[in-house]
């Protein structure tokens, strides 16, 4: 401790007026603008070439009217939006809960301050006190600077909902972000990283625009690799009518690593239990970047899941490891594109377990399905095959906070691995820290902002690395698998990232398979290395 008062520790608030909307758009801290071709493909307004650093954003002439009418409509349509505009008491409970505030120190990243950016406009145009007293009521005029500020800060919110866990009123800033992004999209302000995958998905069925023959190619390659690994011919049926189950996964599972090893894990599992399933070349994307743009786009992209289930005549749907995909499936799909009354309440063909929690959506998460298999001892595991890993688990925001999927992935991991350690309690489960790259932020040009946003998560990983020698961060989200390796390389070098079903696949003992000498990545198993 210091032995005398220290005069130069200044405990003061930052300078400047929070109402000043001007933002400094520094390279590395924002996402590029949407390209006209994608807006045209999606039928969205105001397609043009522009960038956020342009002085003139080429907004439509009546941009202000469009935004205010858009707000009015949404205030009438979404009770939650109206409520969230009115009820915040600025108690500050959420202030230090946002990873972007914690990693950047920027006060406008405090969740209530972020919401205040639109609340102040709401007060100005939609409340009597704001109309009469403006600044006394903390009301702000809607200006072009405010539009730019919204763009900057609402694309700095990953819609993770951590703040809502702490808010005594349950204010969900993520919902506010969704509405603001939707408003911005009305005047053609959106990001390339969101609208390009959405346009690809709309036209071809998946984010990268992988055509059906290339989809088949990727799965054939997986089959080849699985044959080498196990000695078994593991077929991956595509668009097979009459299968019992439609399996939907994020497209990254078949084009990116480390996602792909998770795909291998799923397929080994399905083969081992003899599951009657099919994947689909049409519903070849579980992910839904529409969620990061607008409710309407989310609904349009989601429609293919039920449509394909109907066309193929399956009984129910099983979904792979993904985060935002599950937010959409679990929270919105039934209302948007249901009811799925042509499907049955999912029942595991192996255990007879009826997934009553999926009675309305008819869609089960792979971790629930696998945990149930393990609980009923339907599969055999050799966790020693994962002995090179000291594992911790990152609760991806959407499965944990939007679905309450907390125990099942842990149950699978603890059976599949001998060495597992939790990160500190306030950084996992419903309190989990976001990866900092979700909700369409996970692009190249936004790297510095992502590293700020992911810093709190990385600190918690670092904690278990130092305490227990953790070298593997498991997760069940495609965006996590794409971006956590980057986060780890920067903040906690030496920690790899893997899906839960990759580790399951490593450990899975398969009937008739040859002896395993490598893991799914083709690396020698720990015991092989020890014997060498």
């Amino acid at each position: 401790m210091a032995d005398r008062p220290v005069s130069d520790i200044e405990l003061k608030a930052p300078k400047g007026d929070w109402r000043d909307a001007h933002v400094e758009l520094r390279k590395g801290t924002f996402s590029n603008a949407s390209l006209p071709k994608d807006l045209i493909a999606l039928g969205l307004p105001n397609p043009r070439k522009w960038q956020p650093t342009d002085l003139d954003w080429q907004l439509p002439p009546d941009w202000k009217g469009i935004l205010l009418r858009g707000m009015r409509e949404r205030l009438a349509k979404y009770r939650s939006f109206r409520l969230f505009m009115d009820v915040c008491v600025r108690c500050g409970a959420c202030a230090d809960k946002c990873h972007f505030y914690l990693g950047s120190g920027d006060p406008k990243n405090m969740p209530f301050a972020r919401a205040e950016l639109i609340r102040s406009v709401y007060r100005r145009y939609f409340t009597l006190s704001g109309r009469l007293f403006r600044s006394l009521a903390d009301a702000r005029d809607l200006t072009e600077d405010v539009v730019k500020e919204w763009f900057y800060y609402f694309y700095q919110c990953t819609e993770c909902r951590r703040c809502s866990v702490y808010c005594p009123f349950g204010i969900d800033t993520a919902e506010i972000t969704i509405i603001v992004r939707e408003l911005l999209s009305l005047i053609g302000v959106s990001t390339h990283w969101v609208t390009e995958p959405a346009a690809n998905c709309y036209r071809v069925g998946n984010h990268l625009g992988i055509a059906p023959h290339a989809f088949k190619d990727a799965l054939d390659f997986a089959r080849d690799e699985l044959r080498e690994l196990t000695g078994l011919d593991i077929e991956i049926p595509i668009s097979r009518k009459g299968a019992e189950i439609l399996f939907v996964m994020p497209s990254a599972d078949y084009f990116a690593t480390p996602h792909y090893y998770t795909l291998l894990g799923y397929m080994m599992l399905f083969h081992e239990i003899g599951l009657d399933f099919t994947v689909s070349a049409y519903a070849s994307e579980g992910g839904n970047f529409g969620l990061f743009h607008s409710n309407d786009l989310m609904k349009r992209l989601n429609a293919k899941i039920y449509e394909e289930a109907k066309r193929l005549g399956v009984r129910w749907i099983l979904g792979g490891e993904c985060g935002h995909m599950w937010r959409v499936l679990h929270q919105y799909m039934d209302t948007m594109n249901g009811p799925a009354d042509f499907l049955e309440v999912p029942v595991s063909p192996l255990t007879g377990t009826r997934f009553a929690n999926a009675a309305s959506t008819k869609m089960v998460h792979i971790c629930e399905f696998t945990a149930d298999l393990l609980y009923h001892e339907k599969i055999k595991l050799d966790p020693s095959r994962n002995d090179e890993y000291v594992v911790t688990y990152h609760d991806s925001c959407n499965p944990s906070r939007a679905m309450g999927l907390l125990e099942e992935p842990r149950y699978v991991l603890k059976r599949a691995c001998n060495h597992f350690h939790e990160m500190p309690a306030k950084t996992i489960r419903e309190y989990t820290f976001c990866c900092g790259s979700g909700a369409g932020l996970g692009n190249d040009e936004n790297m510095e902002m992502r590293l700020r946003g992911g810093f709190p998560r990385a600190q918690a990983v670092r904690h278990v690395r130092e305490a227990h020698g953790v070298n593997l961060l498991a997760c069940i989200c495609a965006i996590d698998k794409a971006t956590l390796p980057t986060l780890m390389d920067y903040w906690v070098p030496g920690v790899q990232v893997a899906g839960v079903h990759e580790l399951l696949g490593n450990a899975l003992v398969m009937k008739g398979a040859k002896e395993r000498t490598t893991n799914l990545r083709g690396e020698p198993l720990a015991k092989e290395t020890a014997n060498a």
Binding site: A2, D8, L11, E24, Y254
Partner: protein, 155 residues
Amino acid sequence: MATPATVEERWLAAAATVSGGLIAAHTLTERDPFRNPIGHVLRRNLAALVREFFGAMDEAAIDAAFGEIMALRSIQDLSVERAVGFVFRLRGIVREEAPQMQPAEAEARIDRLAISAFTQYLACRERLADLKLNEQLRALGVARRRTAHRGGAPA
């Protein structure tokens, strides 16, 4: 009587208050590492640096501490000058808090710290390019794996 702890507190205050946009109060007072990760990293590493400053000036320890501080500051909204400049705030602090130290010796040590800080800052900026490249390679991971599998370029 000056203590390294006094120097550490004052230096931490200097580092926190020059950080653009940082709310210094939170950074300085909140001790929970998961409610104040920036403050935690600053505090931990500045303590190590002050120990070295009054001790052996071990190069590896200094580089490691600045490595962590600069990983943070190089991605904040700070110019290089502001990211690294807080090191020189040590001059005044040491002059007041450790008058027993020879000014020339103090200067030489601060210079060595500043060089390490600057080197680590640059290293962090360079790492950003690698991160982007590796992320793109992973995004094409399956295609690369296939190429390698069929005897093409390495995965």
